[in-house]
């Protein structure tokens, strides 16, 4: 159990002025799970890309099973027994599982692939590790959890002895994550070694044997998992003490949003939901269960086919997105790159995108750029957006700063209802706590917040009441004190939702 299978020696990598990895050294022993913990941009992915040969390190060396690894050759890394399960799956959707697994395993100029032998080997492998899979289905037909299984099988098929998993749970339900962890334990029991990359503290604590913490490109700490705490790790990651969000109980206000038995073309199925002023309602669910449809409904993008929708007491079934904005409903879209911002336009242009028709930005029918820039500057100051000037193109901002810009744009209009879809997705701990603080402030001032998230920790930290969305239906919301992560996980997998009755839960 104590043989070193992999060691990294003073690996450094720069991208221009940015030092992505600064003399990082660590080692991995046979049969152990090592976690690489760090925020976005801490250098985890860069380091693993160097290990796997996607990048060439500027300095330092790597040795695998005692032999040094030539830099910049994925093929050499594979042959040395390293397998990588990428954060974004590297699968081709239109091809079969078998095709995906066989790719690159045979000499390219063979005249004929040995498909039946490959199928046999795959089936045996799947049985040995308890990773059931149908080789002839196309990847497009598989669930996210199954796709990850294919990725893992792909690596095992290549006889990897060292597995690197890059943020493997980002797309999984809590149950799927648990079964992944069980698989990982099975693999290490058979002598494989695993590097587990994550920024989720709970997972790292539950799955690993040792933890390395990266911050700003440097290795700042090594801790045995048994001798550390969540709090210590969080502070090591961020580099300063973290305050957990505090929510003080307060009475509900009037009903702001009332959805009754609404069905829409894009995925809601007799959904019910009531949202009061001064509360945060957390909506949990595996992505793709109607969250987008609900957001579209509330932003006026898709009207209900049946059922009723009232916002602030008015019939809102036929509201257009423009009217929704004018009614002071703030939207934090799920995908800030696709829907939230126009990357190649300036900060100023982006902040007035929804409201440029308002009189304050118009002078005799022309845009008043001075007023617009003033508004942009207010947001930059008020919401701590780090950018050189209002004329900066949004593309150049970091994810956290983009999100702050979106928050500033909508929250500066003093909204009464905030539709927050995955507001913390992809942000580091510092930015996440900022976003949460702002939502809590809005709640205090009497606004209603619908928090749609697939991060249960986030929901349980912020929400007054919690509901689950499953196949377009929404469960009866329960006070946060009455739910546990386990129950929510089960409901997210469909427990308690029966065919005919949307409110069985």
């Amino acid at each position: 159990m104590t043989d070193t299978v992999l060691s990294l020696d003073r690996i450094s990598k720069r991208f221009g002025a940015l030092i992505a990895n600064d003399a990082i050294s660590f080692d991995l022993k046979q049969g152990e799970i090592v976690a690489l913990l760090g925020e976005n941009g801490a250098g985890k992915t860069t380091l693993m890309n160097i290990l796997f040969g996607h990048y060439v390190a500027d300095d330092g060396s790597i040795s695998v099973f005692g032999k040094s690894l030539p830099p910049g050759q994925p093929r050499a890394a594979i042959q040395a027994g390293i397998g990588m399960v990428h954060q974004h799956f590297t699968l081709a959707d239109n091809l079969t599982v078998l095709d995906n697994i066989m790719l690159g395993t045979e000499k390219p100029w063979r005249l004929s692939s040995r498909k039946s032998e490959a199928r046999q080997r795959l089936t045996k492998l799947a049985q040995d590790f308890g990773l059931a899979i149908e080789p002839d289905k196309t990847v497009a037909e598989l669930s996210v959890g199954e796709r990850q299984r294919v990725e893992i099988l792909k690596v095992l098929y290549r006889e990897a002895r060292i597995l690197i998993l890059d943020e493997p749970t980002a797309v999984l339900t809590p149950q799927e994550s648990q079964s992944l962890f069980a698989t990982l334990k099975k693999l290490t029991a058979q002598g494989l070694s695993i590097i587990f990359i994550s920024h989720k503290l709970n997972e790292v604590l539950s799955v690993s044997d040792r933890i390395f913490v990266l911050r700003a490109g440097r290795l700042v700490a090594e801790r045995p998992t048994k001798g550390t705490t969540r709090k210590e790790l969080a502070e090591l990651m961020v580099g300063r003490p973290i305050a957990e969000p505090k929510i003080e109980p307060q009475p509900h206000g009037d009903i702001h949003v009332e959805i009754r038995a609404v069905t829409t073309a894009d995925g809601l199925d007799h959904a019910d939901l009531t949202l009061h002023g001064g509360e945060i309602l957390g909506l949990a669910g595996v992505s793709g269960n109607g969250q987008t449809a609900l957001a579209n409904l509330l932003s006026g993008l898709s009207p209900p086919k049946s059922g009723t929708l009232h916002i602030f007491g008015e019939d809102a079934a036929r509201w257009t997105p423009d009217l929704v904005t004018r009614k002071r409903i703030a939207r934090i879209p799920e995908d800030r790159h696709a829907e939230g911002l126009v990357a190649d336009m300036s900060v100023t242009e982006n902040v007035i995108a929804e409201i440029y028709r308002e009189p304050r930005f118009n002078k005799r029918g022309f845009l008043d750029w001075r007023a617009a820039e003033g508004f942009a500057e207010e947001i930059i100051k008020g919401f701590d957006v780090k950018c050189p000037s209002p004329t900066t193109r949004v593309r150049l901002l970091s994810g956290g700063n983009m999100q702050k810009l979106i928050l500033g744009r909508t929250l500066s209009l003093a909204p009464r209802f905030i539709l927050a879809c995955q507001p913390a997705r992809g942000l580091d701990i510092g930015a996440v706590s900022y976003v949460h603080e702002r939502l809590i402030q809005a709640r205090k001032s009497g606004a209603s917040v619908l928090l749609i998230s697939d991060d249960l920790d986030e929901i349980l930290a912020l929400a007054d009441r919690v509901a689950v969305i499953y196949r377009g239906r929404i469960s009866e919301p329960l006070p946060r004190q009455q739910v546990t992560i386990q129950e929510l996980g089960l409901m997210m997998a469909g427990h308690g939702f029966s065919e005919g009755d949307a409110h069985a839960a």
């Binding site: 994925p74 050499a76 594979i78 590297t90 959707d93 690159g104 692939s113």
Partner: protein, 313 residues
């Protein structure tokens, strides 16, 4: 003979298969390229180059098969140019492809004029002759339609089978298909995406070159301006029609060619009453209709026209 009787004449189907041959080569070429994720709109120009290069080789005294080889090489040279511009450099595949078509066709006409400054009627060569397959060519109807063609036509059908085998039965074909679906997956297996894509475009362009050469070495016996006449563009539509599958694309080419052969004969039959332009339009109108029906269900290569840069997502 009336319009219906025409459909059952062996000579109509023999003509259809002849007309289909250059389309089959070109469509297969485009298909390989698109399967790897690269649209090649240089096809029309590459066919023109192939037509001239093949014919000129034979005119200079080369063997007919040497002409075919030279046409393939000339086509792949322009394919390589396209590939370098759009794969490692990541330029727009549309714009580059149209540029290649204009460049290749103009260069061909220029070379032709340089070689034959004074000629008014195009010089002729001795083209491929029909070769009757023993036994099979004696089958009534089918023998005449299928087995009394020129060797290049037989090669077109063989090529369709080979391309199908290559794409679905060999490891290299799998790499090509994956490169067109998700290049990151290819990269992750330690295979060079750039190399796979360039080779696919070059090989596809060689087939396009042979498609062009069919016109000068088999269908006709000389080279003249504008002789490719939109066949490259039809091939692009046929790839979509065939849902990026060699077998279906082959059927599509035959279908289109059958319409074309049929309208030619209908013209003679009904030319007195209906303007001939209507007949000329027919195959194109029908192919648009077929496209609308077929391509609604087509699953195109996901990474088609998306440049791949290492380390980027």
């Amino acid at each position: 003979m009336d319009a219906l009787e025409l459909l059952f004449s062996a000579s109509l189907w023999a003509a259809a298969i002849r007309i289909a041959s250059p389309l089959i080569f070109a469509t297969l070429g485009e298909l390989i390229s698109e399967r790897a994720g690269v649209l090649n709109l240089g096809i029309e120009g590459i066919m023109t180059v192939g037509a001239f290069a093949g014919w000129f080789t034979v005119y200079q005294g080369g063997d007919l098969w040497l002409g075919v080889l030279v046409a393939a090489l000339a086509g792949s040279a322009f394919g390589l140019l396209h590939a370098i511009l759009v794969v490692p450099l990541g330029l727009s595949q549309h714009v580059t492809g149209i540029g290649i078509t204009l460049f290749a066709a103009s260069l061909t006409y220029y070379t032709y004029r340089l070689a034959f400054p004074e000629v008014t009627s195009p010089p002729k060569i001795e083209p491929f002759q029909p070769w009757a397959v023993p036994v099979l060519s004696d089958i009534p109807f089918f023998g005449e339609a299928l087995f009394r063609q020129t060797p290049l036509t037989y090669l077109a059908f063989i090529a369709a089978g080979l391309v199908g085998w290559f794409l679905y039965r060999t490891p290299a074909g799998l790499a090509v298909r994956t490169a067109g679906e998700n290049p990151a997956a290819v990269e992750a297996q330690g295979i060079d995406v750039t190399k796979v894509r360039i080779l696919a475009v070059v090989a596809g362009s060689a087939l396009m070159g042979i498609g062009g050469a069919f016109l000068t070495l088999s269908a006709f016996n000389s080279f003249y301006f504008e002789m490719v006449n939109g066949r490259g563009w039809i091939a692009i539509a046929l790839v979509v029609f065939g849902s990026w599958r060699p077998g279906k694309a082959l059927l599509g080419a035959l279908l289109f060619a059958a319409f074309d052969a049929y309208q030619l004969r209908l013209q003679q039959l009904a030319g007195a009453f209906v303007p001939y332009q209507i007949f000329l339009m027919l195959p194109y109108a029908l192919s648009i209709l077929a496209l609308i029906i077929m391509s609604r269900r087509a699953s195109y290569p996901r990474a088609l026209m998306i440049p791949y840069r290492k380390g980027e997502r």
